[in-house]
Symmetry: D2
Subunit: 304 residues, 4 copies
């Protein structure tokens, strides 16, 4: 396996050139564009890493999967889906158009920014408690107590987060978001700025592949039905507005982040973490998508 | 199993009332609103039917799955996806907005009307040959030589198909559609007007669940990779702009039609045909969706 | 003339019923729905009032005309129109859609909320200085030193102004708006909350009809070319997305506000102030529009 | 005057380079890009021409003003505005987006293509009678019996008019357009292909400036109120989605066509015809707009 992973990494290194580091969050543009890594956590206990799988990066949108599960646990699906929909949009992750033209006005799904901000606001607790609960869940799932916020990225996001502010105020105007907007966004910016490695996100993938039960202890942290909801959204909306293409080319639940990470999984089998900071024009790791495509084809992983 | 099917049908009969017969194709409004049927074709050879599984209805959008596979066989995926995208839209099945505002202008996927019209136009042959090839494939897959066009519905669609004409001319303007528009639409209207039963569409589901190989003969009609593409689109876009919700609530590949049918499948296991002509506001059989939801939960069918 | 004005008022009182007090700014819903007044300031010095022309109301969007002129004086047309366009939108006054889908992203004109917020931000001075300069200009034009902010309305706007906040943050994200968003909005909310009467806004109309020269003193406050720009926008965009209809039915420059006022004018002839707090579904005074239509037809005022 | 016209023409010849001949109607790309002409018909009987004022070009969208007046005469304003609105759109002349997202679905105004097609369909008579009545009105207004269709352009429009077909079918689907779509479009394509000169369109302008009364005979062809409606639309929507800017920069009623002509007028004073086939990116004659701007500033023609 490890040998195959190296082959796949080497073969797809060329796709780094087709991508670019994001500039709209200035701090992200300082990443090493050439970092490339993969880590696999098999549900039967094996783990394999190759390349820069210990290179730290911020989790960004991958965190949306975790906060969705936490909100579902706190409030139940029925309550959550009063505030956020279940449909892919076909629009970019920061689009606000459907908020304006579709009635009732609410974010179409929890994987676009507007939906994720709304979902985080629905987690129980004060803003500080929300964040601590998110962090605690991250640490448990990844079995990594040292996970923490990258402060430079957090400040950079906070400073340049006006598009997210626009969405949040729009949502408060239509009753989707409650409470102080900056407080809500602060939690969101912090969750996005958590620093992880391929290994960490592979663990998250394995946890989902295992239906919400920790591999190492057998402890159930998330109800199976909520883990299933999260996995379904990863398929229909996990790769921004390239989710449909990814479903066809790769065919496994996956969630990407503009930090260059992709957290993926094969139900009942394995979690996968991939890193490649150069992004394609949809916001997904340009080499990362190709690596997962090769992996899926080689081992016949598609769920379809 | 048969006993369970009857229970599920009876339990969900109440959802008929929440739906309505479509009126925009006048002939469809003459259907029996209370018809309700299900048919299952198991890949190990068993078949089960309950309710009005022999009640005839027109296949409508379910045909889009068949024509997509035929076009993929004729032209290859690379060529087809030059003309039609792979992404869900979040818009209604007859929306034209994204054709206007997204560049390059092309239908977002083969399951919305614009995309399906484009795909049918890409099938090899003259208009008459296209249709005969579609019909032949239908007959083979369903093992039903008597399948034919419902002429009244066909004429009704042709007469009231101005929205489809609008899409087709728009697509010809931007170079997505070639040839005579009425010729292209005529094939499309005929494919939509094919009259089938739950049993027929359950056979189609089973054929897809079997990756493109005929159960009865073992003959491969469609390449496995093309069957997989079709199944993937059924998950991401098969239930109009309720596909995301259906993926969460039911979790199996499915394609609905405004004739009231839903063709569904469990990969490697079974094909399912459901009929309930009363539609919800997204255009899906109101009782049919509930029946599939119960079936999925009872037998744990979700692929996620 | 006074006799005619009374007739017109009485005839159109019935249209009050077709309108509603706005509720999205709660304080505005406390206005007297049945107030109805008109005031005319003739350029040859005559003034006529009828009905509740001394009933106080907040100026709201009518202020956009004044701030546009002030910004044009401060920065010049070339600079202003780098940040805001000149085209009507066809969308509602608080729509953000074109900000997202049209490139370059900037508000389409200074009469929609987004455009007016951008324009106010371009006025010279600190936020406090901006407001004081706006207030001073108002006092001069209306020859009314007692004009001041209605504090309850101001607080109500500030509290419920999330849609405006959404626009402002969006505009800062795309570089249209500089500086602190709340500071910018505070000036905007204050300018909208200035309390006036029909007489005050008739004076503004007369000032514009006189090309930017004070009637009482002959002093030029605004360059003729800037007054002309303001009058042109009043015709193309002054009555929200009913401006086209108003141009046909009435045919004079006019700007309405959700406080129920309409400031109108006949170039070279007169300024007109109308009040009727009940609004139609576009946000214009339901009776006020009819009063201006009758007045225009009776005295043949259309500029077309 | 004639001397001034020559000066203005020469000064603005440089703007030809900034424009391009339209290619979407191939026959139009064969025009002489460097043709530049102006013709003025004064209401007191004087006429002045300069440059290529006898160069023939097709009238294109300028015809929309004539057909609107004819439809208003035939059906009355109340009836016409049941099918077409009065508002500028902010979108391009061939946009269909608002037909889809605004309710009730109808073209926003008679100057965009969809609105003009609907208006032509409302003219009394069979398709052939409609066209003959349009042609007769053109001949009378221009006092030019030799006006006729440019057959090559007509065929070119008919062949490449798929975007117009898309609009027409969409409008028939929503009940705005009745009758056979190709019949309706044929009249529209013919009206657009009428070949005229600057002198002809200056006569149309003068006719409108004279409120619907023929200068040469004093005969009223169009009611004053209908001429006024036409002039108003020329201001709010006459220059495509640059109408707002034109109102500010030039300030007179004008209607442009992609044949390079602009028909303009000063109410009560004169009609103006300008030609310059090279178009800016909004579809207006690049040099023509500048010529009218200079003319307006020099003689202080703005109505605002």
């Amino acid at each position: 396996m490890k040998h195959k992973l190296k082959e796949i990494l080497d073969k797809n290194r060329c796709f780094i050139e087709a991508g670019n580091l994001p500039t709209y969050i200035p701090e992200l543009s300082k990443a090493n564009k050439n970092a490339l890594g993969i880590y696999i956590v098999d549900l039967n206990g094996e783990e394999y890493g190759e390349g820069d799988y210990e290179y730290p990066f911020t989790i960004q949108s991958i965190s949306k999967v975790i906060t969705l599960m936490l909100a579902l646990e706190d409030r139940g699906a029925e309550e959550i889906f009063k505030f956020v929909g279940m449909e892919p949009t076909g629009d970019s992750f920061n689009s606000m158009m459907k908020l304006e033209i579709v009635r009732p006005s609410r974010p179409f799904n929890p994987m676009i920014n507007a939906g994720a901000i709304a979902v985080t606001s629905l987690i129980n607790g004060s803003p500080e408690e929300k964040f601590q609960r998110i962090l605690t869940l991250f640490k448990k799932i990844t079995n990594n107590d040292s996970i923490k916020v990258n402060h430079e990225v957090y400040l950079s996001e906070k400073k340049t987060g006006d598009r997210n502010r626009a969405m949040a105020y729009f949502m408060r105007d239509v009753g989707v978001l409650q409470g102080d907007v900056e407080d809500n966004l602060d939690v969101y910016f912090r969750q996005c700025s958590l620093e992880v490695t391929c290994r960490d996100i592979a663990k998250i993938g394995a946890f989902l592949a295992n239906d919400g039960v920790l591999l190492q202890t057998g402890e159930r942290l998330i109800e199976a039905k909520n883990a299933k909801i999260a996995k379904t959204f990863m398929v229909t909306c996990g790769m921004y507005n390239a989710s449909g293409e990814f479903a066809i080319e790769v065919g496994i639940p996956a969630k990407s982040g503009v930090g260059g990470g992709i957290m993926a999984l094969v139900p009942g089998k394995m979690g996968i973490g991939v890193l490649g900071p150069a992004l394609d024009d949809k916001g997904n790791s340009s080499a990362g998508v190709q690596i997962l495509s090769d992996l899926s084809n080689l081992f016949n992983l598609s769920i379809f």
